[in-house]
C-alpha cells in the first residue's frame, strides 16, 4: 500500500461480473467479485485461458459483461458510453500497441487530444510524460515506434496510457514480449512510477514472479476466473489456499519469499572489527576478546576490507599489510534476502559483510542469521494468514446471522 503522497487512484469494485460467449454452457468468466482499494496494485495471475484477460478487458468494457456490475469510485460504469469510459482509464498492452505511423509525441498525445485539451497543454504534457518514463523528450519526441527498442516502446506505451492522468491503469501482460533483463528494468520502473503516482493498477500476467514483485495484492485465478486466492504476496507464498495455488506458486515458495524482504529488515550480527591503521596489539587483543576467531579489517572510510584469522596473525610476523583474505562480496542493506543468500552461498566461509549507503560496514550476515530470519518470517506470515482467515470467517458468520435475522424479520411481518 502506498504511503505518504496523496492517492490519485480510484476504487474499483467488480460485482458478480460474468461473461458468456454465445450459447456455450460454460461462461468464460463466472461471477467474479473483487474490491480494489484506491492506489492499490492488484495482479491477476493464472494459467492461460483462465479468463484473466477477459476479466481485465471487462473493466474498461472492451468486452461487454453478460451480467454483473463494475463500479469505479462508487460510480456504476456498466451503463455509460464505453468510449468516454475508456478515456478515463489508462490501457497498456503487450507489444505496446503503439501506432506505427505516428511519432512518439503523437502517440502519447492521443487521449489528451480526444479530451479536447489545448495544443500547448498537450505539448507540455507529452514532454512531462516522456520525462516520467525516463526518455529524453528532445531525443525521442519526433521518433517513430520502429526506431525504438522493445523496452523503449513499452515505456512510451505506459506514457500514452498515463497521459490524461487517469485514476485507473489497466495493464495486459505489458512486459510479456521483452527480454528478461529489460523486463526486470521495466518492472523496477513501474514500481518507481507507482510510488510517485499512486494509481489504481490492475495488471494481468501469467508470470508468478512478476506478480510477487509488483503486486500489493495478487488474485490467483483458476479456470473461468474463479478466484482461488486473493491476498498479499506474503500470504500466498506462505499459506497457499489450496493445491491449485501452491501448484501455481510452484516449487521454491520459501526462496521466492526471500525476494520480499530486505536485509535491513532482519537482524545482522556484529563481528569484531579493527581499522587498517590500528596497531597490531589492538588487533590481537580484539581477536582474543571476540567469540569468533575472525576479525574484519575496515579501510580508512569504514568499508569492509579484509578478513583476519588468528592463524593469519601468526603467519604474518611483521606488519598486517599482507595478512588475511580480501573481502570479495558484500551486500547492501537494500538488497533482498535472496541476494544475501546468493552472496553467502558463494562466499568461501559462508558470511558476507553488510554495507550501508556509502559502502560503510554495518554488520555481517551468515547462514545461521539468514535461516533464523527466514523461519521467523515464515512463522509470522503463517500466523498473520491464520488470523486473517479467522477474521474473514467471523465476518462471514456475522453476515449470515444478520441475513438470517433479516429473513426471519420479514417472515414475521
Amino acid at each position: 500500500m502506498p504511503e505518504g503522497d496523496a492517492v490519485t487512484g480510484a476504487t474499483i469494485e467488480l460485482d458478480e461480473l460474468t461473461k458468456r460467449y454465445g450459447h456455450s454452457a460454460q461462461p468464460a468468466v463466472d461471477g467474479v467479485s473483487m474490491e480494489i482499494a484506491a492506489g492499490e496494485t492488484v495482479i491477476l495471475v493464472g494459467p492461460s485461458g483462465c479468463g484473466k484477460s477477459t476479466c481485465l478487458r471487462m473493466i474498461n468494457r472492451l468486452i461487454e459483461p453478460t451480467s454483473g456490475r463494475i463500479l469505479i469510485n462508487g460510480e456504476d460504469v456498466t451503463g455509460i458510453d464505453p468510449v468516454k469510459l475508456r478515456r478515463r482509464i489508462g490501457y497498456a498492452i503487450q507489444s505496446s500497441g503503439l501506432f506505427p505511423h505516428m511519432t512518439v509525441a503523437e502517440n502519447i498525445a492521443q487521449v489528451p487530444k480526444m479530451l479536447g485539451w489545448s495544443k500547448s497543454t498537450v505539448r507540455d504534457r507529452v514532454e512531462q510524460m516522456l520525462d516520467l518514463v525516463g526518455l529524453d523528450p528532445r531525443e525521442f519526441h519526433g521518433r517513430y515506434p520502429r526506431q525504438l527498442s522493445g523496452g523503449q516502446q513499452q515505456r512510451v506505451g505506459v506514457a500514452r496510457a498515463l497521459a490524461a492522468d487517469p485514476p485507473v491503469l489497466l495493464m495486459d501482460e505489458p512486459f510479456g514480449a521483452v527480454d528478461p533483463i529489460t523486463r526486470d528494468h521495466l518492472q523496477d520502473e513501474l514500481i518507481r512510477l507507482q510510488h510517485e503516482l499512486h494509481k489504481t493498477i490492475v495488471f494481468v500476467t501469467h508470470d508468478f514472479d512478476e506478480a510477487i514483485k509488483l503486486g500489493d495484492r495478487i488474485a490467483v485465478l483458476r479456470e473461468q476466473s474463479h478466484i482461488a486466492q486473493f491476498d498479499t504476496p506474503e500470504a500466498i507464498l506462505t499459506n497457499p489456499a489450496d493445491d491449485f495455488v501452491s501448484g501455481f506458486v510452484g516449487a521454491g515458495a520459501a526462496l521466492k519469499r526471500l525476494n520480499l524482504t530486505r536485509v535491513r529488515d532482519v537482524g545482522v550480527v556484529d563481528v569484531p572489527t579493527a581499522a587498517m591503521d590500528d596497531p597490531r596489539e589492538t588487533v590481537v587483543d580484539r581477536l582474543r576478546e571476540g567469540t569468533s576467531n575472525e576479525l574484519l579489517l575496515l579501510d580508512r572510510r569504514g568499508r569492509p576490507y579484509k578478513w583476519l584469522r588468528t592463524g593469519d596473525l601468526a603467519l604474518a610476523k611483521g606488519s598486517l599489510a599482507r595478512a588475511g583474505t580480501p573481502v570479495t562480496g558484500h551486500v547492501s542493506r537494500d538488497a533482498t534476502l535472496r541476494d544475501a543468500l546468493e552472496a553467502v552461498l558463494t562466499d568461501s566461509a559462508g558470511r558476507v559483510p553488510v554495507t550501508g549507503r556509502r559502502g560503510e560496514y554495518v554488520g555481517v550476515v551468515d547462514m545461521e542469521t539468514l535461516m533464523n530470519s527466514v523461519h521467523e518470517l515464515l512463522e509470522a506470515d503463517r500466523m498473520a494468514a491464520i488470523e486473517h482467515r479467522h477474521d474473514l470467517e467471523e465476518m462471514r458468520a456475522h453476515h449470515t446471522q444478520e441475513q438470517l435475522e433479516a429473513g426471519f424479520g420479514e417472515g414475521g411481518r
Partner: protein, 215 residues
C-alpha cells in the same frame, strides 16, 4: 510522311485526345477509389462480405471490355456515360481487393489499443486503420490506373473521349497513308500517359505515407 511529321501536323488533335484521355482516367480513378475503399471498409470485417465483394469485382473483370461497353450502350447511350461506368467498374477489383487485404492486415493489437484508449469506431478507421493500410491501398490504385489507361482506349468504341479514337480511326482505315502513324501516335500517347500517372502516384505515395511505416 514520317511519324514525327504526322504528329506535328496533327498536334492540336492529339493534344486534345491526350488531355481527354488523362482527364477521363483521372476522374474515373477518383470515383473508383472512393467507391472501392468504401466497399473495402464496409466488408473487410466480415469474412463472407469480403469474399462476396472480391468475387463480384472479379466477375466484372472477366467481362470483355467490348462486351461490357456493348451492354452499357443500350442503357446509357453513347459517349461519356458508358465510358465512365465501364472504367469505374473495371477499376474496382484491384482497389477493393487491396483495401480489404490492407485493412485486414492491420495488426489487431493496434485496433485493440485504439479502442482501449477510447477512440470511437470512426476514429479507429480514420486515424489508425486507413493510414496503416494506406500503402497497400495505394498500390491497388496504381494497378487500377495502369489498367484503365488501356481500357479507356477501347471506350472509343462507344464514342467515348480519348486516344482510343486515334487508334480506332487508324485501324478502320488500315492501308491508307497515315493509318499506321495514327495507331502508333495513340498507343505511344497512352504509354507516356501511363508512365506519367504512375510517377505521380509514386510521388503521392511518398507524400501521404507516414515515415514511420514507409518501406
Amino acid at each position: 510522311m514520317s511519324f514525327w511529321d504526322f504528329v506535328g501536323s496533327r498536334r492540336q488533335q492529339l493534344l486534345m485526345d491526350t488531355y481527354q484521355h488523362a482527364s477521363a482516367v483521372f476522374q474515373c480513378m477518383v470515383v473508383a477509389a472512393v467507391i472501392g475503399i468504401g466497399i473495402g471498409m464496409l466488408t473487410y470485417r466480415n469474412e463472407r462480405a469480403g469474399r462476396l465483394a472480391i468475387a463480384t469485382t472479379v466477375t466484372i473483370m472477366t467481362i470483355p471490355s467490348y462486351a461490357l461497353l456493348g451492354l452499357l450502350i443500350p442503357a446509357l447511350g453513347l459517349g461519356v456515360p458508358p465510358t465512365v461506368t465501364a472504367l469505374v467498374l473495371y477499376a474496382l477489383l484491384p482497389i477493393v481487393r487491396n483495401a480489404i487485404v490492407g485493412l485486414r492486415g492491420v495488426d489487431p493489437s493496434l485496433v485493440d489499443a485504439a479502442r482501449g484508449i477510447g477512440m470511437s469506431r470512426a476514429a479507429q478507421i480514420a486515424r489508425v486503420e486507413l493510414p496503416v493500410a494506406w500503402p497497400t491501398i495505394l498500390t491497388g490504385i496504381r494497378v487500377a490506373t495502369q489498367m484503365l489507361m488501356g481500357i479507356a482506349a477501347i471506350a472509343a468504341f462507344a464514342s467515348g473521349p480519348g486516344l482510343g479514337n486515334e487508334i480506332f480511326a487508324g485501324i478502320s482505315s488500315l492501308g491508307s497513308a497515315n493509318s499506321l502513324n495514327q495507331v502508333l501516335a495513340g498507343t505511344l500517347g497512352i504509354v507516356v500517359l501511363a508512365l506519367l500517372f504512375d510517377a505521380a502516384l509514386v510521388l503521392i505515395g511518398r507524400l501521404t505515407t507516414s515515415r514511420g511505416i514507409r518501406a
